[in-house]
Amino acid sequence: MHHFRAPDARRFITASLMIGIAFVIFGASFGVLSVSAGASVAQSCTLSLLVFTGASQMSAVSVLASGGTIASAFGGAVLLSGRNAVYGLAMSPVLKEGSMASRLLGAQWVIDETTAIVSAETDPATRRTAFWISGAILYASWNIGTLLGALVGSSINPSDFGLDAAFPVMFTAMIAPHLRTSAGRKAALFGAIAAVALAPFMPIGLPILVSALGMLFGISPTISEPTATTDGAP
């Protein structure tokens, strides 16, 4: 469906495999924690296959694992996936060339990393090559990792291996690129304070939704235009 130029293809395969290694590890950690939070192996794998946006999946499992309500786990996860709509705007010219079927598949692969890899290119043909190669490799990596983790997760106690710290540790790696702007830092500070300060007074999971109000720092115009911001974690 697309003609890839070999030197470009090789470059994107290498770049995607580097991120793919991290995806396998992130995915495996997600799989372990998802199963230990009460999801089945099949449910964990379905989340990775059909949701395919790491922060949302982890957020949902994190809230459920700490005893939060289903509604708050759901709300946080959906809010977190809202940014993919914005990335989609930037990716639409890349997808427009293909058939409707390829656009529907491609839409599923619009995440932080594919957007970041494609945004670094200017030539339309190169951008298409970058998108389809990185999308396929990262989708495979994330799902392989999830399956491995979910299978292991049913036979271990995560906290014996420090894996209960895996969520905050992974979120730390994922948030870094979002702290490059001052609006991002303000939003993060607000989010952290809200989550801790409100914890004793609200049902579990609800303070996280209050944290999301930090997005309102985006109302005041900043110098930087919105762009995709990460290069490494799902």
């Binding site: 991290a22 590890i25 939070a37 009460g38 089945s40 449910q43 379905t46 059909l50 949701v51 395919f52 922060a55 949902a60 459920l64 700490s66 289903i70 946080g76 959906v78 809010l79 996936s81 809202g82 940014r83 709509a85 989609g88 705007l89 990716m91 639409s92 997808l95 529907l104 839409a107 599923q108 619009v110 420090g162 894996l163 209960d164 710290a165 969520f167 905050p168 992974m170 979120f171 730390t172 790696a173 948030i175 979002h178 609006a183 989010g191 809200a194 989550a195 801790v196 914890a199 579990i204 303070p207 996280i208 944290s211 999301a212 109000l213 930090g214 997005m215 109302i219 115009p221 900043t222």
Partner: protein, 100 residues
Amino acid sequence: MSWTFVLALAVCAYGLKLLGAVIIGQREMPLVVQRCLLLIPAALLAGLIAKDTFTTGQSYAIDARAAGLAVAVLATWRKLPFVVVIVAGVGTTALIRVFV
């Protein structure tokens, strides 16, 4: 976790991707909306980090997870690879559990 939850989340997450990539496409989405949507990860991930590190249920707790987070923050700040950040953070928490 229920299948309803799994499938509803799948529909919403994919729907948002479709909305941007196929439905709205190159037509307009107000910049203010774009800026706010892109700030959600900073706000929400920071909230999740704080919750997962310093609370257990509705009460406060400072334990081995805080040490793991500190190591992860340091490793991220030093721009170490993701794999190193995860292994160092999780490993620190595990080691403290074993020896303390």
